[in-house]
Symmetry: C2
């Protein structure tokens, strides 16, 4: 069953020095009840059905008000007019836009965002916002089948994908640390890795419970298409790291370095997306994980340095502090 989107507290959003107005309230409520991306005209039509005496100008003014209040976002699909989408508890995302039915579908890709940041950095360009739009024909239009009914809010999809990614990360993290513990020569190192593996195992079961609970909110949730794409989760980062441990001649120092690389990558990921949503299940999960990964990261760096000192060698650049995401540069 479809969940109703959480409604924002309009009184709190209203900027100081502005008055309440029943017409605006009506427009905002009608807008928030809709799904998808409405043009000003669409909204005028919807409004006229409920109250004949609301003028087009007021609808335009209210749309602007919503954008300023952070309830709506103006989007441009190249049609020569703008559309508006919710932005309350609905983070920036990318779009697939069907040219034949004009429907649009949302997604997020951590991988694309990282690459975009790299490109911007390569040009010394300060990126404030990025737009990714894929134009084409959607499955429904191509096959003639009815479109999969909307239903799940992207808040829910975000939470689902957040948890899937967290679970995948824990699983491969567990594998990584278990293997690292097996190959570690230094007893202290073995101990550290073993402790990490234990932690991952514990978190994993917590997460799996939470995921099961989330699924109760929407029986079809599992079958809905991916909203948040992140390769680092399943086959990147820790999985790659575990793989790297299989190479010849990996010593304890190398194992630490690989672990540091992995934790840094996932910390970065969880932090970025954790900051994206407000007060949602997904946000919470992500921020918890970001924190956890940060702690792991610090411990690994500490241990790495300690081992280096014991071996009387100089630290390598892998031990620089936790980086901030490039977006905030």
């Amino acid at each position: 069953m479809a969940t109703t989107p959480t409604l924002p507290d309009l009184d709190r959003l209203r900027p100081a020095g502005t008055k309440r107005s029943s017409k605006r309230d009506l427009i905002v409520n009608v807008f928030l009840r809709q799904e998808g991306h409405l043009s000003a005209d669409d909204l005028v039509d919807l409004i006229k059905r409920e109250d004949h005496r609301i003028s087009r100008a007021t609808v335009y003014r209210t749309l602007q008000w919503m954008v300023d209040a952070g309830v709506a976002r103006k989007v441009d699909f190249g049609e020569g007019r703008f559309r508006f989408e919710h932005s309350y508890r609905h983070p920036r995302h990318f779009h697939l836009i069907c040219k034949s039915c004009n429907r649009s579908y949302e997604f997020l890709s951590s991988d694309i965002e990282s690459l975009v940041e790299e490109v911007a950095a390569a040009r010394a360009f300060t990126a404030r916002q990025s737009v990714v739009q894929i134009y084409g024909t959607c499955e429904a239009c191509r096959t003639g089948k009815p479109p999969a009914e909307e239903g799940a809010t992207s808040e829910l999809l975000f939470a689902r994908d957040a948890m899937r990614i967290a679970i995948a990360t824990e699983r491969s993290g567990l594998e990584f640390y278990a293997r690292a513990a097996r190959i570690a020569k230094d007893p202290r190192g073995r101990n550290v890795f073993q402790r990490m593996a234990e932690e991952e195992k514990h978190h994993l079961s917590t997460l799996e419970n939470r995921y099961a609970k989330l699924l109760e909110q929407d029986p079809q949730l599992e079958s809905r298409p991916t909203f948040l794409f992140f390769k680092g989760a399943a086959n990147g980062l820790f999985a790659r790291g575990a793989d790297d441990l299989r190479r010849k001649g990996v010593d304890d120092l190398e194992a630490y370095r690989i672990g540091i690389r992995c934790e840094r990558g996932s910390h970065r990921f969880f932090k970025r997306y954790g900051e994206r949503f407000e007060d949602s299940e997904g946000k919470q999960i992500f921020l918890e994980f970001a924190e956890e990964e940060r702690e792991h990261l610090e411990m690994l760096i500490r241990e790495y340095r300690a081992l280096l000192r014991r071996q009387d060698r100089h630290p390598r650049r892998t031990s620089r502090p936790v980086p901030r995401p490039a977006a905030s540069r």
Copy 2:
């Protein structure tokens, strides 16, 4: 020194049943002389300087004509009006858009394009075109320094990056095959890998010569920012493959599989971008390489299967035929 962009043969572009017109010629020529992304209004101003008596309507009509003829592309930077950019020998690309000076900078990213294709595939969406726009502040505006003068056409930048990528691929391919030859147990396999390494070495020197020649066309070419981003070149694909060969227990079969994965990736890359440009140096390089990688790929698959048969085992899925890029699905 900046190279003048190659001018299209307008007579050839003119669709059948349309007449020549001196005013249109003037407008097209003025348009093609400009760089960057012009609004209709910008173009009207430029035109008025040369001939007072050309009307706004004609400019609009000519812009439409250029879009139809494939000389111009209509782009939308969310300003509430369209801009136009060259499209003659100028492939589709992505944009960095400076909100403070309204300049825009172009780039291409194979990595982003691949991810976009994956997202589309995951939703069974047929992608026809994708838009990636990074909005923010450019270096010139942020630092107050004058903008790096334009100069190089993206045709030249594309050729430069094409060659850089080809060279990086050859280098890591060479390393990969040399190492594979070293670890191969099967004498026939050792021979195959050695032959590949020789080939790579030969191509590498050809390419380096060609690159040197390209640089003569623009002394600053090397220092201009990256236009085409592709991670697979330097640290992906073969480099990763060579790395994989360092793992414990890599046998000849595994070496073939890794090689097949690498060749498939680079074949795919070279093919995609080779098809993008018309009659340019970059296009030629890329298509030659695509063909070369395809041959390597086929040989590796053949050898892999032969070895399997000799070892009396069943083929694994790695031996499926060369895939086409997802874009053409």
